[in-house]
C-alpha cells in the first residue's frame, strides 16, 4: 500500500518538475489505466479516500488525453459531446460494476475485482460505437483512432465513476452505493464534474498553439475540485468519525484535493501567462494585416 502511494506520487511529481508529460498518448493511457485499475480492485474498505482520489485523477487524466486525441480532427459538434458520451457510458459501466461486485461478494474479500467486468463490457460498447461512427457505410466520421478513443473513454468513465462511488460510499457494496452516492443525488455531481474534467481541458486550451502538458494540467486541476466536493460529501454523510470511510478520511481528502487543485491551478495560470503572446496590464487594440 505504502509503496503504491509513493510510486503514484512520483508519477505525479515528474511532470511537475519538468513540466512535461513524458509518456506519449499510448504510454500515459496504459500507466493511468494500470494505476486506476489497481486502486479499483483493492477492496474499498482497505483503502483511504485519498488513494482513491489519486485513482480518479489518473482515470480522468486518461480520459482527457483521449478526448484531446480524438477531437483534434474536429467532431462537427464541438469538443464537449465526446466527454458527455464518455460519462453516459461511465454511469452504465459503474452500475454494472457494483452489480457484479454484489454478485461476487459471497466469494471472498477481493470481490471488488468483479467491478472490472463492468469496465470491460463498457469497453466493448465503446469500441462498437466507435466502429459505428467511423465505418464508412454507417456514420463515416473518418477520424483516425476513434474506435480506440471511444473504447478508452468508456473505460475511463466507468473507472472514474466506480472510484467516486467508492470514495463516497466507503466501498463498492451495492446497497451503500445506492443509498449514499445515488440516493443523495451526488451521482449527478460526479457525472457532470467528471465530464468537465474530461472535455474542459481541451476545450479551454483549444487553438493552434494548444500544448499537451498544459491541457493535461487543467484536467488534474478539475479533478482536484471534483475530489474536494466528494470529500465534503463524505465528511458530511459518513457516520463513523475515525477510520476509513469516516469523517476524518473525508477531511484528509478535502485537504489533499485542495492542495492538488492549488498546485495545478497556479501552475496552469503561470504556464499560460508565460506562453501567451504578451501579458499586459491594459492596452489598446490594433488590427494586424
Amino acid at each position: 500500500m505504502g509503496e503504491e502511494e509513493q510510486k503514484e506520487e512520483e508519477e505525479e511529481k515528474k511532470p511537475k518538475a519538468e513540466f512535461k508529460f513524458p509518456p506519449d498518448e499510448t504510454g500515459l493511457g496504459i500507466i493511468s489505466a494500470v494505476i486506476a485499475v489497481i486502486i479499483v480492485i483493492l477492496p474499498g474498505t482497505w483503502v483511504p479516500a485519498v488513494i482513491k482520489a489519486i485513482g480518479v485523477i489518473f482515470a480522468l487524466l486518461w480520459g482527457a488525453d483521449s478526448v484531446r486525441k480524438t477531437s483534434k480532427y474536429g467532431l462537427g459538434t464541438g469538443v464537449p459531446s465526446i466527454g458527455v458520451l464518455a460519462m453516459g457510458y461511465g454511469i452504465i459501466g459503474a452500475l454494472l460494476g457494483i452489480a457484479f461486485v454484489k454478485f461476487a461478494e459471497p466469494m471472498g474479500p477481493f470481490s471488488s475485482v468483479a467491478a472490472l467486468g463492468g469496465v470491460l463490457l463498457m469497453a466493448v460498447v465503446g469500441y462498437i460505437s466507435g466502429v459505428f461512427s467511423n465505418h464508412e457505410k454507417i456514420i463515416a466520421m473518418k477520424i483516425p483512432g476513434l474506435e480506440r478513443g471511444m473504447m478508452e473513454l468508456g473505460m475511463a468513465g466507468s473507472i472514474a465513476m466506480l472510484l467516486q462511488f467508492s470514495i463516497v460510499a466507503g466501498s463498492l457494496s451495492f446497497d451503500k452505493v445506492l443509498s449514499t452516492a445515488i440516493g443523495t443525488g451526488a451521482i449527478a455531481l460526479m457525472f457532470v464534474l467528471s465530464m468537465m474534467a474530461m472535455f474542459h481541458p481541451y476545450n479551454a486550451c483549444l487553438g493552434p498553439d494548444e500544448k499537451r502538458p498544459r491541457t493535461l494540467v487543467t484536467s488534474v486541476e478539475i479533478s482536484g475540485l471534483l475530489c474536494l466536493i466528494l470529500g465534503i460529501v463524505l465528511a458530511a454523510t459518513a457516520t463513523p468519525v475515525w477510520g476509513l470511510g469516516g469523517v476524518v478520511d473525508g477531511v484528509i481528502l478535502i485537504a489533499f484535493s485542495g492542495i492538488v487543485w492549488l498546485v495545478f491551478y497556479v501552475k496552469f495560470v503561470k504556464e499560460c501567462m508565460r506562453e501567451s503572446d504578451s501579458v499586459v496590464g491594459t492596452g489598446l487594440i490594433r488590427t494586424i494585416e
Binding site: G185, V192, N203, C205, G207, S276, D277, I285, T287
Partner: protein, 317 residues
Amino acid sequence: MPIEAVAMLFAWMLVIVFLALIACMFEDLESDTGSQSNPNSQVQLAAQVGQVHRFFNKAISGEAPAYAMYCTTAGVIAYVLLLKGIHPLLAIPIGAAVGEAFHVIFATTAHIGRTAGSKRFEQPLYLDVLYGHLLPIATHGFMAVLCIVSIAYIQSNLGTLSGMSGLNHPFALPMLAFIWGITVGAIGSSTGDIHYGTEREFQDRPFGEGRRVVYHGKITRYAECGIRTQKDIVGFCVKYGGPCTGLTFGLIILFENWRTLVGMKLGGFLPDLQAINGDMAAILGIVIGIVIGIVLIMGNVTLVKWARKRYGPFVGE
C-alpha cells in the same frame, strides 16, 4: 384545510415561475458577460482573422453542461448543509456561492487557456480584462444559480411546504438542480445568444440582414466610447435579449407545472390524493399541454407571416 393546501400549491408554483424568470434572465446576461457558448466562436475567430480584441473568451463548453455543473455543485453543497440541520435560508446561498467559486475558476482557465492557445495571432492577455470580468460573471451567475437551487429546494419539498406531504418530488435536490441547470443552459444558449451574436457582436453591420460569412470574425471591437469589452454588451442585451430569455424559461416552467397541477385538480386527484384518480389527472394534463402546444404553433405561424409581410423580400446587395 385541503382547499387551502391546493391554493398553497398553486402559490408555490408561481414562486417557482418567478424564480425561473429571474434565473434565466441572469443566466443569459452572465453568458453575455463572459461571451460563452455559440457567439464565442466569433471571439475566438476574431484573433485569427487579425482582429485583436478586448473580449473575454469564456469557453466553458456549452452553457447546458456548464450550468448543470454550477447548479449541481451548489445543490450538493446546499443538500449537505441541509442534512446537517442548517436553515435553508443560509444553506442555499452558501451552496450558490461555492458553485460560483467553481464558475470563476473555470472562467479563468478558459480565458487564459484560449488566449495562450492563439499565441501566433499576437493576441495579448489583458490583465484588466481578465480581472475586471470575473466579478460581473460571478455576480450574474450567483443570481442564476441561487434561483435554480431555490427552485430545486422548493420542488423537492413542495408537499411539505404546501401541507400535502405526498407531493414531494421523488428526485433528490442535487438531481433537480442538475435537471434545471441543463434546461436553463439550453434555453439561455438557444434564445439569449441570438441577441448578442446577431445584433451586438456585429453592430456596425447593416440591421435587418443575416450576418454574412465574410463578416465572420470581424466583430465590432469599438464601443460607444472607447474599446468594447464584454461589460458594454450586458447593458445592451439587458434591454431585450435577457428578459426574453427569462420569459422563455418562466413560460416553460409555468406551462409545465400549471398543466400538471390543473390536471391534478380537474381530475379529482387534488386535494385527497386518491391513486384511483391519478390516470384521469395525467390525461387532462396531457390534453392541456397539447392545446398549449397548438397555440404556440399558431403563434409562430402568425409571427413568421407577419414578418414576411412587414419586412418583405431581401433588399440590398
